[in-house]
C-alpha cells in the first residue's frame, strides 16, 4: 500500500511536467487546500470523535487576518501567515472552551451556533470586513502558477505528515483514548478538557494557515470562506473519503473537488449530489467511501487488504 501512496505522490509532483493545462493545475491546488482542511478537521472529528462544525471559521478568519495584514498594515506575508495561525488559535479557544462543555452531538450544534457569531460579524462589521465583497487586491506570495502548485502540494504533504506524527505521539494516544472513553481518560489522570482544546487548536491552526496562504494565492477574501456550506463540503469530503483514516480525507477532498469543478455543467447541482452522497454513505457505509472500496477489494483480493488497512493508518471508528 505504501508503494501505491508513494507513486501517487510522485505522480502529483510530475504533473506540471506532463501538462500545460492551467485549469487542471488550479483544480489540483484547490484540491490540496480542501485536503488540508479535511485532514485537519479529521483530527478532531475522526480521531478525537468530536464533530466540530465551525471549522470553516478558522479557515476564514485566517484568510481575513492575512487580508488585513496586507491591506491595512502592509505586513510581509510571513508575518501575515503567522498572524493567521494565532488568530485561528484564539478562535479555537473562544469556540472550544464553551462548546466542549457539551458532549457529542450537542457539541456539534454548539459549534455550528458559535460559528454564526463570526459569520454574522462579517455582515455586521461590513465597513471593516468589506461585507459581501470582502477584501481584494492582495499581493500574491508567488507569481507563477507552477510555483504555487508545488507550494500547496508540499503544504498538503506536510499537513498529512504532521497529523501522522501527532497520531504516533503520546498526544495522539491520548486523543484516541478520549474518543474511546472520555470518562476513563479522566479516571486515568488526564485533563480531557485540556487535550480536547489542544487538539482543536492544532486543527484550527492548520486551517488558519492554509486560509492565509490561499488568501495570497486568490488575492481576495470573501465571506464565503466562513460559510456553513464550506464546512459542509469539508464534512462531505471526510465522510466520503473515510472518517478516522489518515489518507481518506485527502482522497475525499480530491474526489469531491474534481467532481464539483469538472462537472461544471451540473455545478448548480453539486451540493445536492454531495448531500445525497453523504446520506447514502451514512446509511450504508458509515466508515466512508474508502472503506467501501477497501471492502470491495477485499472480496476480490482477499486477506491482503488487512495489511493495507493497517498501513493506511485506519483506526476503527465505530460510529454506529
Amino acid at each position: 500500500m505504501e508503494i501505491v501512496m508513494a507513486s501517487l505522490v510522485a505522480f502529483l509532483f510530475l504533473v506540471p511536467f506532463l501538462t500545460r493545462d492551467r485549469y487542471l493545475l488550479h483544480i489540483l491546488i484547490l484540491s490540496n487546500v480542501m485536503a488540508i482542511l479535511a485532514v485537519s478537521w479529521n483530527l478532531v472529528a475522526g480521531y478525537l470523535g468530536q464533530l466540530n462544525l465551525a471549522h470553516a471559521i478558522f479557515y476564514g478568519l485566517g484568510a481575513y487576518a492575512s487580508g488585513y495584514a496586507f491591506k491595512l498594515f502592509r505586513l510581509p506575508p510571513l508575518i501575515g501567515i503567522f498572524a493567521s495561525g494565532v488568530v485561528a488559535i484564539i478562535a479555537a479557544l473562544v469556540v472550544g472552551i464553551p462548546c466542549f462543555r457539551l458532549k457529542g452531538h450537542y457539541f456539534a450544534i454548539a459549534t455550528l451556533a458559535s460559528s454564526q457569531i463570526f459569520y454574522a460579524a462579517t455582515g455586521a462589521l461590513s465597513k471593516i470586513t468589506g461585507g459581501e465583497e470582502g477584501i481584494s487586491g492582495i499581493k500574491p506570495l508567488l507569481k507563477s502558477l507552477i510555483a504555487n502548485y508545488y507550494l500547496f502540494l508540499i503544504l498538503m504533504i506536510a499537513t498529512v505528515f504532521t497529523i501522522y506524527m501527532i497520531l504516533r505521539s503520546r498526544l495522539g494516544l491520548i486523543i484516541r483514548s478520549v474518543r474511546e472513553d472520555e470518562l476513563l481518560s479522566e479516571a486515568s489522570g488526564l485533563d480531557t478538557m485540556k487535550y480536547k482544546i489542544l487538539a482543536l487548536c492544532i486543527s484550527a491552526f492548520i486551517a488558519g494557515i492554509i486560509g492565509s496562504v490561499n488568501c495570497y494565492y486568490q488575492s481576495i477574501v470573501t465571506p464565503d470562506t466562513l460559510s456553513i456550506s464550506l464546512t459542509f463540503g469539508i464534512v462531505a469530503m471526510v465522510i466520503v473519503g473515510g472518517f478516522g483514516t489518515l489518507v481518506g480525507p485527502v482522497i475525499g477532498a480530491y474526489l469531491l473537488t474534481f467532481i464539483a469543478e469538472y462537472l461544471y455543467f451540473i455545478l448548480q447541482f453539486r451540493l445536492i449530489i454531495f448531500s445525497l452522497l453523504i446520506i447514502f454513505i451514512i446509511l450504508f457505509s458509515p466508515k466512508g467511501f474508502l472503506d467501501l472500496i477497501v471492502r470491495g477489494m477485499e472480496s476480490i483480493f482477499g486477506p491482503k487488504m488487512e495489511a493495507a488497512k493497517m498501513e493506511l493508518g485506519e483506526d476503527d471508528v465505530s460510529e454506529s
Partner: protein, 246 residues
C-alpha cells in the same frame, strides 16, 4: 491520618445516597466496604474519586482537602479507582491502555513499579498476568482479562490509594482466589486499598477492616469477624435476603 472522610453527604433529588459517612484509613490499610444493593457504595467511590461533588463533608488525603477537585487531579494526587462495569479503551491494545494512564515522566524509585514508562508498563502487565497479551486489542479480551486490565490501568497511575469497585464480581472461584492474592500483593507493597464487594469470600479475605453501609449511612465498622457478628448487619442482610426470597 492518611485518609480521613468527614460527614460525607450526597443527595439526588429527595434521595440521600450518602449520609454523614465518616471513616479513617492509615497508610497501608485494607478497608472493605459492604452493604446491600443501593446502599451507596459506588456513590462513595464516585465521591472519593471526584466524579461526584458532595453536598456536605470533607475528604482529606494527608491533610489536603480533595473536595472540589476534578477527577484527573485526584488521580494525580494518587487515588486510583476501578469501575464496577468494566471499562476499557476499546480500539487500543492492552499496552496502549496502560500507556494512556502512565505519567509522562515515568515513576520515581519509591513507586511500586519504578523506571521509564515502557519498562513500567511491561512490569505491571507481568504483575497482572497480561504480558503475553500486551499487543492484543482490548475488545478481544475475555472477561477476566478485562478485570485484570482494570487493575493494571489503575496501577499505571502510580496510586497511593487504590479503590476497587467489585473487582471479582463475575469471576469463577479459581479466578477470584487469584485476584485476592493479587490485591494482597499490591497492598504488601504499601498501596492502601479500599474494596467494595458483594462476594463475601473475597471481601472477608482481603479486608483488615470493614465498614457496612445501608441506605447511605454507615451502620457498622470493625474487623471482618466483628462485623459478621454485628446484629445490625445481620438484620440488614437478612432483610435483603427476605426480600429476594419473598
Amino acid at each position: 491520618m492518611f485518609l480521613r472522610v468527614e460527614s460525607l453527604t450526597k443527595h439526588f433529588g429527595g434521595l440521600s445516597a450518602i449520609s454523614e459517612v465518616n471513616f479513617e484509613l492509615s497508610e497501608g490499610d485494607m478497608l472493605g466496604v459492604m452493604g446491600p444493593n443501593g446502599a451507596g457504595k459506588t456513590t462513595l467511590i464516585n465521591l472519593l474519586s471526584g466524579f461526584l461533588m458532595p453536598d456536605e463533608g470533607n475528604i482529606f488525603l494527608g491533610g489536603e482537602n480533595l473536595v472540589g477537585l476534578k477527577p484527573h487531579r485526584i488521580v494525580q494526587k494518587g487515588i486510583a479507582r476501578t469501575f464496577q462495569q468494566v471499562r476499557k479503551f476499546s480500539n487500543l491494545t492492552v499496552f496502549e491502555n496502560l500507556k494512556v494512564a502512565c505519567k509522562v515522566e515515568g515513576a520515581s524509585e519509591k513507586d511500586l513499579f519504578p523506571g521509564s514508562t515502557e519498562k513500567r508498563i511491561l512490569e505491571i502487565l507481568k504483575f497482572v498476568n497480561l504480558y503475553r497479551k500486551r499487543d492484543v486489542v482490548s475488545t478481544s479480551l475475555p472477561f477476566d482479562d478485562l478485570k485484570r486490565l482494570e487493575i493494571g490501568r489503575a496501577l499505571a497511575t502510580s496510586p497511593v490509594l487504590l479503590m476497587l469497585d467489585e473487582p471479582v464480581s463475575g469471576l469463577t472461584l479459581e479466578e477470584t482466589d487469584g485476584f485476592i492474592d493479587l490485591i494482597r500483593k499490591i497492598n504488601s507493597y504499601g498501596v492502601t486499598i479500599i474494596v467494595i464487594e458483594h462476594v463475601m469470600r473475597a471481601l472477608m479475605n482481603i479486608s483488615r477492616r470493614i465498614i457496612v453501609l445501608d441506605g447511605g449511612r454507615k451502620i457498622s465498622e470493625g474487623t471482618p469477624k466483628e462485623v459478621s457478628r454485628d446484629q445490625k448487619v445481620i438484620e440488614v442482610y437478612l432483610g435483603e435476603m427476605a426480600e429476594r426470597y419473598a
